[in-house]
Chain length 291, copies 2
């Protein structure tokens, strides 16, 4: 059994991007990071994105509109970033305050600067296998973890647990693409799925993204399975200073002995998301410069 | 075993739309049908679309640019239809002549007039379950055939054979949606799938869309399966005046005795596509009038 080291693989990608950016002449890529409010997780995510950008040599601009900002003012801010020729990528950190239509804000970002890949156009391009689009970061991070861990997906059966717009559906669309590194047979399961264990036990690769702590147990997988655990769940833990610890959607202790490869939580999929955001930003820069 | 009568169900939908349009005051919905060249199948499809529009009370404008039209002139024609306030829906009949970038032409159609549902925005909206979008016509016709035949998909296992952008992928996205009439567990199979029969035999509902004549045989399904056959394949038949006959992707004679419900070819999915195009056109009219 091999634990897939997301930190190491993300660091590889960051190092590759750093070399790529260092070789650029003139202006460097720039990402705008918009954070509304002080949700602790959001503060931490945006800080990490800014730090990784700096490490690569990507300029970042952090915008902190007041938590009282309204829908139209926030969309106006997005418009101004869309219009700014010095900005290549725009990320609006989710979640937004209650009362803001998040989908409308994400949809407002110009498709060519939508490095988070949440606009309808980029989702559609992902379905169309149009390489000019920006696949969303967590699903493309999953693909990269698998390929850099030597997992050949062609013809293998991948079971995706979860049908969210952020992970399940775009991951399924990437896994089934007709190209090297993909070509998997894909099953999408969710809360309404009947006889779930009989399906997950067929998985050569299991992607768990349902947000239920340690939901996948040993009796739900077959020996030799490759497990990608996308879950990030806080559970109470009195032994920790914070009072909680993070666990995935997979019962790691029970499942790991059966798996051929498995990602840990934390340190699996999580670190990849930021790396893929940076890759999309460099791609946006190149496509805009080439346009 | 029940043969699902696509002609009857399509006629029901056409009758419903006719009543809906008859109740409208003022201007009626209008669809622009663009056909380039004289491909016999295209001539027949466009004629059928115009006839069905007329039956419903939808105005149609048939545009026949010369087969020598170039990319930019064809895109200019689309632009003029996008700008025309009297046009609610635009359909550019596929296939376009060699040398034309079909995806670029489809992508040029305004998302709010893209009643064929092939633009990236409408594909993305389908993935997002955004009801303002236009799902492409064959997949939404499949959903309608199933619901009007009393097939409850919730938690059932649907196996989709084929991953095309026109059928397989959007059908999978519709089937897995989190809403009444959908909520299926979905597996997408294709040419690279290993052990295909062991997967298709698990299907409660099998959607065959791979373009291989009579590919699905009796030993690939389980008793009681519901079969939706999207294939339209010509095979030589000396006993016909035309010299050919149409068959689906399913060996109807072999599979039908095992199935609880099955669509024939022709007369199954085919008639639904035109009906769904008309429904999208009426929806486009209402959304534009409401905007």
């Amino acid at each position: 059994m091999e634990v897939i080291d997301g930190n190491r693989i993300a660091a590889e990608i960051v190092a590759e991007l750093k070399a790529e950016v260092a070789a650029m002449h003139g202006r460097k890529p720039c990402i705008a990071l918009v954070r509304v409010g002080d949700d602790p997780a959001s503060v931490s995510y945006v800080r990490k994105k800014g730090q990784t950008a700096a490490e690569i040599g990507i300029e970042s601009r952090i915008l902190l509109p007041p938590v009282t900002i309204g829908q139209s003012a926030l969309e106006g801010l997005v418009d101004s970033l869309n219009a700014d020729p010095m900005v290549d990528g725009i990320l609006v950190q989710s979640p937004l305050p209650a009362g803001i239509d998040e989908r409308a804000v994400f949809g407002r970002i110009s498709p060519e600067k939508d490095v988070d890949g949440f606009s309808p156009v980029n989702l559609g391009k992902l379905a169309q296998e149009d390489e000019t689009g920006f696949p969303s970061c967590t699903p493309s991070g999953i693909m990269e973890l698998l390929s850099r861990s030597g997992v050949n997906l062609e013809g293998r059966h991948v079971v995706v647990l979860g049908r969210s717009l952020i992970v399940g559906k775009p991951a399924a669309l990437l896994l089934v693409q007709k190209k090297a590194g993909a070509n998997a047979t894909v099953t999408i399961c969710h809360s309404k799925t009947a006889n779930l264990p009989s399906i997950t036990r067929q998985a050569d690769v299991l992607v768990a993204a349902i947000g239920r702590p340690e939901f996948v147990k040993a009796d739900m997988v077959k020996p030799g399975v490759v497990v990608i655990d996308v879950g990030v769940n806080r559970i109470p833990d009195a032994s920790r200073k914070s009072g909680y610890r993070l666990v995935g959607d997979v019962d790691f202790a029970g499942v790991a002995p059966l798996a051929s490869k498995i990602t840990p939580v934390p340190g699996g999929v999580g670190p990849m998301t930021v790396a893929m955001l940076m890759r999309n930003t460099v791609k946006a820069f190149r496509q805009r410069a080439g346009g």
